[in-house]
């Protein structure tokens, strides 16, 4: 877990390769696990994700002996993404500074399963704005406001075959939430 420094933000972000002794201990590019698919400068770009987190919350009053008082204000947390510094960093800063919209951001999780590189999770965020940009030496941290998300979990059986998938869809634009397979 890495605590992102900042004046207004102290987000704890889980790191993908947490627990490794050193980032100097080998090359990971060929076996990257989490990848962000995003459009920068009009071009589709795939970048390794070193840590990310997002979530949702709802407000509920805790006096359970009285009437049920739950808020309708389902809230998406900002999507926190940790990337390595590379030549795309200025393009992220430009998008941040100009209030640029990302129509779609996809983060996928890959796994080696029985000789094949398979996608096991797919998180799709739409209508997104970068609201915070921090460079931490060789890394950049982005805090991204998202309006809609579709999260797909692909089920892999023990024999390595696909066992279907489950999907959660949510929109703070329409207030519609659903699950599916």
């Amino acid at each position: 877990m890495y605590k992102v420094p900042g004046r207004t933000l102290h987000m704890n972000i889980p790191l993908v390769r947490e627990g490794e002794e050193s980032d100097l201990s080998g090359i990971s590019k060929a076996t990257r696990e989490w990848v962000i698919f995003i459009t920068l400068g009009g071009e589709p770009v795939e970048l390794e994700v070193f840590g990310f987190r997002h979530g949702s919350s709802r407000h509920t009053v805790g006096f359970s002996v009285n009437q049920y008082l739950a808020g309708a204000d389902t809230r998406f947390s900002d999507l926190g993404v940790l990337l390595q510094l590379d030549q795309y960093a200025p393009l992220f800063e430009q998008q941040f500074a100009t209030g640029g919209l990302f129509a779609v951001i996809v983060i996928k999780r890959f796994a080696w399963i029985n000789g094949e590189l398979k996608v096991t999770e797919e998180h799709t965020f739409s209508t997104c704005y970068i609201v915070k940009y921090i460079q931490i030496l060789d890394y950049i941290f982005l805090s991204i406001r998202v309006c809609q998300k579709v999260e797909k979990f692909i089920i892999i059986d023990q024999d390595g075959n696909n066992g279907g998938s489950v999907v959660s869809s949510a929109s703070t634009v329409t207030g519609a939430f659903s699950t599916g397979t």
């Binding site: 420094p5 900042g6 809230r75 030549q87 200025p90 800063e93 030496l137 703070t172």
Partner: protein, 198 residues
């Protein structure tokens, strides 16, 4: 990984500012052994200097005009109202924090103190991230700050922590392929006086 960065905490304005320090191989402890720099900083008129060889194409200066930069921190933020069910409410305010630099004491130390005390405007600060590729020392990232107003300094034994605000920030990052050849570069220029980003 990023969680191996050591940090320097300084108290300022009733809060703690955490500045990540550049790591070193093996021990990560800069009090052991000797080392060449990973980051270097040039502060105009301050007399920053070193014996490090090499040049910075972006600033047109030699690294002999730069000194070691052990760590730095800056954050940037925009306000967007989170009520997604109605029209988009976003602010034109683009906020960049004070930027903190951790550097050794040296010829520049007296200038920095005087700059803070007297509100001396620093026309240019340039700091670079260096890399060794195929027996060459190259610049990976070059950030140039223009019209900088000194904000604070902290004296920490052999180190000086210097903080400034800035009007223009130019962020240049070079991309290198795995074979060491230059792939390209991208630049973001933010001018907070005219509110223009290019």
């Amino acid at each position: 990984m990023i969680d191996q960065y050591k940090g320097l905490e300084i108290g300022e304005d009733g809060r703690i500012v955490w500045i990540p320090l550049a790591p070193f191989p093996d021990t990560g402890d800069r009090s052991e052994g000797t080392f060449a720099p990973n980051w270097m900083i040039y502060i105009e008129n301050a007399g920053t200097a070193s014996k490090i060889e090499g040049s910075v194409e972006d600033s047109g200066k030699n690294l002999t005009e730069y000194t070691y930069l052990f760590g730095w921190f800056c954050e940037a933020e925009r306000k967007v109202l989170g009520g997604a069910g109605v029209n988009l409410f976003t602010s034109s305010i683009l906020w960049y924090s004070v930027i903190y630099f951790v550097m050794p004491n040296g010829e520049h130390s007296a200038f920095i103190r005087n700059a803070v005390h007297g509100g001396v405007i620093i026309p240019t600060i340039n700091f670079v991230r260096l890399s060794r590729i195929d027996n060459r020392v190259v610049v990976i990232q070059s950030i140039t700050l223009s019209t900088c107003h000194p904000y604070s300094y902290h004296s920490l034994h052999d180190y000086t922590v210097f903080a400034v605000t800035f009007i223009v920030r130019n962020n240049l990052v070079y991309g290198y392929k795995q074979d060491g050849t230059l792939e390209g570069q991208n630049i973001c220029n933010v001018d907070l006086s005219s509110n223009v980003v290019t």
